[in-house]
Symmetry: D2
Amino acid sequence: MIAARLHRYHEKLVVENIAEPKITGPWDVIVRLGGAGLCRTDLHVQEGQWAEKSQVALPYTPGHENAGWVHEIGSAVTNVAVGDTVIMHPIVTCGLCRACRAGDDVHCEESAFPGIDTDGGFAELLKTNARSVVKLQPSLHPKDIAALADAGLTAYHAVKKAISVLHPGTTAVVIGAGGLGHIGIQCLKAMTAAEIIVIDPNEKARALASEIGADHTVAADGRHVDTILEMTDGKGAEAVIDFVGESGVIPQGIAMLRNAGSYFVIGYGEDIVVPTIDVISREINFVGNLVGTYNDLDELMVLAAQDKVTLHTSTYPLDAVNDAMADLDQGRLQGRGILVAA
Amino acid sequence: MIAARLHRYHEKLVVENIAEPKITGPWDVIVRLGGAGLCRTDLHVQEGQWAEKSQVALPYTPGHENAGWVHEIGSAVTNVAVGDTVIMHPIVTCGLCRACRAGDDVHCEESAFPGIDTDGGFAELLKTNARSVVKLQPSLHPKDIAALADAGLTAYHAVKKAISVLHPGTTAVVIGAGGLGHIGIQCLKAMTAAEIIVIDPNEKARALASEIGADHTVAADGRHVDTILEMTDGKGAEAVIDFVGESGVIPQGIAMLRNAGSYFVIGYGEDIVVPTIDVISREINFVGNLVGTYNDLDELMVLAAQDKVTLHTSTYPLDAVNDAMADLDQGRLQGRGILVAA
Amino acid sequence: MIAARLHRYHEKLVVENIAEPKITGPWDVIVRLGGAGLCRTDLHVQEGQWAEKSQVALPYTPGHENAGWVHEIGSAVTNVAVGDTVIMHPIVTCGLCRACRAGDDVHCEESAFPGIDTDGGFAELLKTNARSVVKLQPSLHPKDIAALADAGLTAYHAVKKAISVLHPGTTAVVIGAGGLGHIGIQCLKAMTAAEIIVIDPNEKARALASEIGADHTVAADGRHVDTILEMTDGKGAEAVIDFVGESGVIPQGIAMLRNAGSYFVIGYGEDIVVPTIDVISREINFVGNLVGTYNDLDELMVLAAQDKVTLHTSTYPLDAVNDAMADLDQGRLQGRGILVAA
Amino acid sequence: MIAARLHRYHEKLVVENIAEPKITGPWDVIVRLGGAGLCRTDLHVQEGQWAEKSQVALPYTPGHENAGWVHEIGSAVTNVAVGDTVIMHPIVTCGLCRACRAGDDVHCEESAFPGIDTDGGFAELLKTNARSVVKLQPSLHPKDIAALADAGLTAYHAVKKAISVLHPGTTAVVIGAGGLGHIGIQCLKAMTAAEIIVIDPNEKARALASEIGADHTVAADGRHVDTILEMTDGKGAEAVIDFVGESGVIPQGIAMLRNAGSYFVIGYGEDIVVPTIDVISREINFVGNLVGTYNDLDELMVLAAQDKVTLHTSTYPLDAVNDAMADLDQGRLQGRGILVAA
């Protein structure tokens, strides 16, 4: 089958013919891909930022936002059948460890993360397991929702954590209205009555943010910290939801936070640097966010089916993967890039 | 009356005669001090670390851990009478703002913090209000429990936040078994079945920790991060409760944290510096802790009455305040220093 | 001043001239009423259902949903000034007891409940205190929002409790789309993405429910339990929110509940009768709801200001109070009845 | 193999020879029983109380509190090996449904409940699956902890739910210090600082309760409701944890409940009958409890390993099962009865 593979860090992916995956265990599921989302993490992977953490052996196939149709199943699989339309939870989990049993499958002790530490979805076929496939209405096309599998799921997961502090009368500041941010905004709108303020340097991104639920948008113009403070009676926001995590936004985000407020870290790249005296005297919190659980993905698919979350995508054929990555890197890609194999 | 006042940052306190406080509002309460706890924050105050945050005008009287007997009350005070033994919640709150009404009185919008931004308890009399006095059994002596008013309360508050992640089978690492830490250990013991591991460089502090509830103690010997990881199957602790926040402990504490774990910040002095990629890939959290609420203090007094929390104190006369501060600064003070006015 | 007073249980109210209330304490506030909501509880009061619980001495003035303008204030009141537009939290609370301090002011240990156990708002003036007045935009007219003070607040409070079980993909069944129910529906819509199914025997009420946010409405036609089960794949709803509590709806509501689901009790009149074997084998919960807190009322006023909650009201002059009560009793009153004094 | 089987409701069990269970799926696990706890539910089963709910076909083997050693495993089982000492979570779950994934495996949509709806542990061998076996230290003997598998687990689960309302200064009333109650008391002691008051008519049970952690015991002497109210300043308890659910205790328990308190239903037999006006005016809750999750069982085994929970048991050979059931029924069995097959 055709796959786009990373052979060396800092180099382009190679589109090539490789062997198809095989069923080896009773819970295995092989999926024919209908769409694979392209994510800023794929750029970070290419740059080697994940090399030490993932310990993946090169060459391998990136792509961790996958949807398609079930192609083959193991002997004990009962929850999907060949031909079913599915979206894949990004993590292949064991179902036996404490984390899986606690509803925190993201921290499974025996997991694989296709596209990060094993072969992913920039290919025709992907091997996953029965615990990772969410069955969809056959009317949905995988390419239209694939990017919800990780970008969307991460945004949903962070928003779900934020909900408990976002009662009516509170403010949520969203930093970054790109691939993840524009899903986060929609999730906030669907599940809270908080006032949503979105900060982005890009005018088109801000216009999109307003369309999909932002109550206010603010340009990242150098005095946006003051602007947010003015908009919140000098007190700041109960929640800052940071989908950027680089380009100097972190100290700005912290300055926008209300006393006792929480900073939700989703985007990454730079360091959090904060004096402990500020952390304690303002009693603020920093909340890490990886990706959502299987149930989170299931819930997000409900919001998608209710048209409360819609994706803005640009489609590329699989063999144009390097063009797509360049477009993403250079800010030419609005919404989310989707690779389609055939 | 006699009071110990700070006239200039970086200088010793001056013990001098000043005017007594007066009742001016219907909710005012004036307390004759029976004991005032000495806290590392008093050193930080003297060093000017709080100058910008508190905006206090010098000279003023430090001392924010106070207990005594009611001396005079305003016309509308109904919850205490002259002569009652009381411990004072450190913050004088309004009872009308959203935070006060939400059970989060620490973030009161119209508060005063005697000893930090107004005159405190290194004196014979202190002015507070009806919302800040917790009535005690007359059998209790103020000097025996005064330090629970802030040090104890802060430790209790942090432990109470940590409880929700500390089910049986989990590990809580306590960094620092000094004034706050040794109360935190007792609170953990009283309210959880978690395994408690205490790290301290001081052998006496570790011995005390073992006596009052630590399941294990670890010397801060340079390889203690590895020791903690070995004790937790290489996974780290669900909660790291840091009562130090300086001397380089923060990166160590982060390294001891389990994936999805939470770092409770109580001690302060240095910066948290952490790459966002670690925050998101490990999905870890940082939780700020200021001081507990009035109800927290009331609950802590229950633990004290049940003998589940006992204070180890050293008493000094008020006019020896500078000796006490030097002892604290130079690590000669075990347990908590208490100043007694008369 | 003019007031409508209950002299004997089971008799009509008497509209008569009585003495005006006086300021007696530093936190007292006297409000000139702009609107007083009429509630099914007023009928229950008249029938004597509350006599034993409230221990109120007759004659007295009912009316517990009040809004107006500040008329006079006590010496220590700082949060409102004469002339301010205010809505009154129904309970006059102390601000000193544990419940008040815990954000649970409804269970204040030293409270009064004007209209239930002391004189209420079916009058020209009402005495309350500084802790019970929520300041509003001057543009709002008291009669338009008065009924949010108790009916709305109770509905909001119950919905807020239900939110934690109402993630996307869940179902909330609302029993009764009358005065409280139609506010509850709007609160659910504003704060959750759950599917909202509303049951009511009245066609007009169902039509209104659909307009304001119900995803489905079901006639109470005798087979509605089966209908709900069919709509939920035979499993029932995660939350049943019962605004009726009489006319035989309780066993129906229990039958509609999913395993591990929660039954929110708001309406009252009949008994809950349920075998403990059902409670444990289905692991279901029953959650009592009185009225919301001051902060809940503040949050509800935000939803009102955002036009996410709008009240459907019918206005009556105060001296037509008995007509209004008859209309309510006989089901002729859609939305909420509001009494206006002048 | 030998098994004790129920052939007809209301009749004694028949000890007889039946075929051994066989591995048929990749996740199956067969366990050689070392101990099977006897529970009041087994009496209810025999009386036919569960017939309609369980739909079990007679004859079948009761016994739902099981521990032993792994005898045989399916092809995909990786978490236990033949010979391992294990305790069995009572429910055999799928690991694929939303409930399993949410950490609520008790409500698994494809579950079996050996001993209730399929063959249980009153036998030499029991068939379960990989998701239901908790691996233990080999030093533990199954007969010493078997009863923790359901009775203990249920008590633990209920106490864990109650913890959030049981801060220091609160009161937990435990009704019934029998098989479940005496575990519940130990769990409360291990995980809260609440005051624990235990009510039981039996003097020996009260003496045991005092030994294992009750702060006070009260005889069920007809005026015990008043006694509890006196012990709680007339206010009642924040939590009533009812391990009886019959013999008229329910209205007593409700009367002991503080406003805003919660009634935890564990024991069963009679109905809850409560006027909705009481539920709303006192804002009380009723919380159903079935059995704990797999993770709850794992946590309880930690408490057992820490000697914080110890079981008081009486052992019977499997063929004396009917004697054991008679002893339980007639109140001659203190602590928990354990059947041992060989």
